[in-house]
């Protein structure tokens, strides 16, 4: 192990030696690889190495071809006029400077010879060539690769690339790679190292932390101090980042809960109906999405990105119609008998599940994601997937829409009137049975819409609804029956609390703890966070 740093030092020394005259040459030779190629036409290894480095700095295709040929032992030169040729697999020769075949087959060729030093500079040159490749993606990945390898031999190439780079993103990556190399390099000057630590500290992630921990082992106090300061800064940042990440995951989970529960907030919360078939409405929405996608896939593949938009109204209608059928067929005979309603709707849920199982089969169905929902982006160090983002946005949109319907439309007004005082509402000329049906249809329809969104993140199977039923009831009961805001707050609270508990207690235990918490909470406040007066309270 002791040998390693000295070996690295030796390599670095060689590299430095090579680069002595580089920046100047590089700038001059940048456009024209011909002069650099000509320098290879020698049997002096020193000269060849210098030529390779110079060649690499040009970043041209011809340079790449020549260096590749040299690495493969296919590069030849003619002593007389310093012409350099590449021999291809068929034995034909091509002039390395022009890339064209010479008029007559050249003679008197000697191979450009290799030794270990030359091979090393070839390797470095290859790295350099990708660092200055015209393709920005390649440049970026080369920079990232150097950041990982921390190979001191690439330092000159990095300098060259940095001098040429115009794109800020890649510049930053290159600077970080250079800083990483400097930190790993034992003989870099202290001032270099301190500025490298600053650059790495700005990166501020786990990789940076690992790198800075190596810098902390530095013998010079000033570097150590800089590294330690940077580490504290990054750790604090990571704690904050972690908290934000938990909050984001929690909000995302909370949105899922909100979607699952918000329909129930209408049927259970507003009407006081225990609808155990609520989860099956969600499932119907998810299967509607599946059917729509299958239809589009076979008939109009171009519209696939619109499948969710098409499925939304359909899911609302399907689930809403089933809801009306349940209300008119069963529930209306059971008003005022909540426990019986519970049992009857449980029966409905069994029948719906088995119907779907009979029609679509018991296996999970594949629901695809439209292109705008795939991928992710970086938000101040948080990786946010578009799918999750859209679910959150969608959940909020559904919430707002529902709030508007309840508070700003005449239907919503009638609904609230019936909820608060049924007989008075009836006396005022509101057709209460009609409102009951529509309210139940609205709640079911919303559940169907939720199914469209949940089909994107959950398995679409006949059991889809079952997995949400306990959670949804918990959200509604926790939030307070008959209150949309309560449902929103409860869903987000439970989501965030779940994600903060998970690292300490594990996913399952965290969930159990939350259930126990809610059970205890209901003892304390039997009407939930935000209690409301109305029919639900009287019953």
């Amino acid at each position: 192990m002791r040998a390693l740093p000295s070996l690295r030092a030796l390599l670095t020394a060689i590299a430095l030696l090579l680069v002595a005259g580089l920046p100047l040459h590089a700038q001059i030779a940048a456009q024209d690889p011909a002069a650099a190629i000509a320098r290879l036409a020698t049997d002096n290894f020193r000269e060849i190495e210098a030529g390779i480095t110079e060649l690499a700095a040009t970043g041209s295709d011809k340079a790449a071809a020549a260096i590749q040929a040299l690495a493969d032992g296919r590069l030849f030169y003619r002593q007389s006029d310093k012409a350099v040729f590449i021999r291809d697999a068929a034995g034909k020769h091509v002039d390395a400077r022009t890339g064209t075949a010479p008029a007559e087959e050249p003679s008197g060729l000697r191979p450009v010879r290799l030794n270990n030093a030359v091979r090393r500079s070839i390797e470095a040159a290859m790295g350099t060539l990708t660092l200055v490749s015209p393709d920005p993606a390649k440049r970026l990945s080369a920079a990232v690769a150097v950041f990982r390898s921390r190979d001191a031999a690439t330092l000159p190439a990095l300098d060259t690339a940095l001098a040429k780079e115009t794109e800020p993103r890649i510049r930053a990556a290159l600077a970080q790679a250079r800083a990483a190399v400097l930190i790993a390099k034992p003989d870099a000057s202290d001032s270099d190292k301190v500025s490298a630590v600053e650059i790495i500290a700005a990166r501020g992630d786990q990789d940076a932390l690992a790198l800075l921990n190596t810098a902390k082992a530095s013998p010079t106090p000033i570097v150590r101090l800089a590294a330690e300061t940077a580490i504290t800064g990054i750790e604090r940042r990571l704690v904050v980042l972690n908290a934000f990440q938990n909050i984001w995951y929690g909000v995302s989970l909370g949105s899922v809960l909100l979607l699952a529960a918000i329909g129930l907030a209408i049927t259970f919360g507003v009407m006081g109906i225990i609808n155990m078939a609520h989860g099956e409405m969600v499932m119907l929405g998810a299967y509607t999405t599946f059917v729509v996608q299958e239809f589009l896939r076979t008939r109009y593949p171009g519209l696939f990105d619109w499948s969710l938009a098409i499925a939304l109204p359909l899911a609302f209608i399907v689930a809403g119609l089933v809801g009306i059928a349940i209300e008119r067929g069963i529930i209306r005979f059971l008003y005022g008998r909540p426990l019986e309603t519970l049992l009857a709707t449980w029966g409905v849920s069994l029948i719906l599940q088995q119907s779907v199982r009979t029609i679509f089969g018991a296996n999970n169905r594949e629901v695809g994601a439209p292109s705008f929902m795939s991928g992710a982006f970086d938000f101040f160090g948080l990786t946010i997937t578009y799918g999750r983002l859209w679910i959150v946005v969608f959940a909020m949109a559904v919430f707002v829409a529902l709030w508007v319907v309840l508070n700003m439309t005449s239907f919503g007004l009638k609904m609230r009137a019936v909820t608060q005082n049924r007989r008075m509402a009836s006396a005022m000329g509101i057709r209460t049975p009609w409102i009951d049906s529509l309210t139940f249809a609205l709640g079911s329809g919303i559940a169907g819409i939720a199914g469209v969104a949940l089909s994107q993140i959950d398995n679409v199977s006949p059991n889809l609804g079952q997995s949400y039923i306990v959670d949804s009831f918990m959200v509604v009961v926790f939030g307070g029956v008959g209150n949309l805001w309560g449902t929103l707050v409860a869903a987000l609270t439970l989501g965030v609390a779940n994600k903060f508990l998970e690292p300490y207690a594990g996913a399952v235990l965290g969930k159990i703890l939350l259930l126990v918490f809610i059970i205890l909470f209901i003892q304390k406040r039997p009407r939930g966070l935000f209690a409301l007066r109305g029919r639900a309270v009287e019953s």
Partner: protein, 379 residues
């Protein structure tokens, strides 16, 4: 003397029920053990265990009817008490395996060896001792019911709220028992039992004995529940069911009445679970599934709640239908069960026994009223 007084206090339904049980306790051993296997009257051993399983469900249904039918507490978590009793019995049976497991470890059950555990967790201590295990069959579900009920009834959580949190309770228990860290076998539960009290658990005679014990416990459970509901205590229970606030205003400590009924019911469910496990041969966390508890509710609803006998009848009928339908037309079982839920709540709110007794009472009244009304109609 006691028995005579008990039977004298019973109504017709109760007498028929006990007579059927007495017949079963005599006929089943005779048909299984005495009648040779070739005979058409022979009862195969698997049927004995199957009926034993139905009767365990019947005991669970009676327990549920005690709280739902007489006290208005619709518990959607009685499956949890049933499963806890089952686990208590399961732990005893696991300890009886001894070194006959696959790994041959004299102390640890196979799954613990597999999980690389070194010693028996504290929760398992004492379960090798049969009386302790039997005590736990009563204590564990009873304690859970006591704690849960004490909190719930004291803060006056009633109606559907109570139903929902009992459901959440059994759901939480299911998630907990699915965890390997709980030390109760995780996903796979407890199975591969060898013997109970030194008798081979697979043996025909053991099976018949288990069946007879189940019948006896069912009768005992019925008599206990019956004694509770016909006493003055039971009158208060019914009063609570029908008008909780009024009962409270009359000066009764409603939560204590409810709590006692709930705890007794949970213990009864625990006994049912304990008898279920050796006859079925396995206990796993899916017994805690909320769906199971709701299914138990429909047995009571089908038979007729508030009748006790009806609950037992409902459990046997529904489970018989389940066995038959899942065998003959597996696709249709859930349709059938779902339709049963809907039809019973809509058209048979009093269940079979309740409707029948209504019907016979109306006939009796009609007959009593007939002599006076008949001549009037003729003229």
């Amino acid at each position: 003397m006691m028995t005579a007084r008990l039977i004298a206090g019973l109504d017709v339904r109760g007498r028929i029920f006990l007579a059927v049980l007495a017949l079963a306790i005599v006929a089943v051993p005779v048909l299984n053990l005495m009648v040779p296997p070739g005979s058409p009257f022979h009862m195969p051993t698997y049927l004995v265990s199957l009926f034993g399983k139905y009767l365990c469900y019947a005991l669970l249904a009676i327990a549920l009817d005690l709280v739902w039918g007489y006290c208005g507490i619709l518990s959607l978590g009685h499956g949890a008490f049933f499963a806890l009793g089952g686990y208590a019995m399961g732990l005893y049976l696991m300890r009886q395996i001894g070194s006959r497991g696959v790994y041959g470890n004299p102390l640890l059950p196979d799954f613990m060896v597999f999980l690389n555990w070194k010693e028996l967790p504290i929760t398992w201590w004492g379960f090798g001792f049969f009386p302790y295990a039997m005590l736990m069959v009563l204590v564990v579900p009873g304690l859970l019911a006591f704690v849960f009920g004490w909190f719930a009834f004291r803060s006056r959580v009633t109606g559907v709220y109570l139903s929902i949190i009992t459901q959440a309770m059994t759901y939480a228990m299911m998630l907990a028992f699915f965890r390997n860290d709980m030390g109760f076998g995780g996903n796979n539960g407890l199975t591969d039992f060898k013997e109970i009290l030194g008798f081979n658990i697979q043996a025909q005679t053991t099976r018949v004995a288990l069946f007879c014990i189940t019948v006896a416990m069912l009768a005992a459970g019925y008599l206990v529940a019956r004694a509770m509901v016909t006493s003055s205590y039971g009158k208060v229970l019914v009063a609570i069911r029908d008008a909780e606030s009024r009962t409270r205003f009359l000066g009764y400590r409603v939560e204590r009445f409810k709590l006692l009924a709930f705890v007794v019911s949970a213990c009864m469910a625990g006994v049912a679970g304990a008898l279920y496990v050796p006859q079925v041969g396995i206990i796993n966390p899916s017994e805690f599934a909320p769906a199971n508890s709701i299914e138990a509710v429909i047995w009571v609803a089908v038979g007729g709640r508030g009748t006790l006998v009806g609950a037992a009848l409902g459990a046997v009928l529904v489970n018989f239908a389940k066995t038959w339908l899942t065998g003959a037309l597996p696709e249709f079982w859930l349709f059938g069960l779902g339709a049963l839920f809907i039809l019973v709540t809509l058209f048979l709110p009093k269940g079979i026994v309740g409707t029948l007794s209504d019907w016979s009472r109306r006939r009796a009244e009609a007959r009593a009223a007939a002599p006076e009304s008949r001549p009037a109609a003729a003229e």
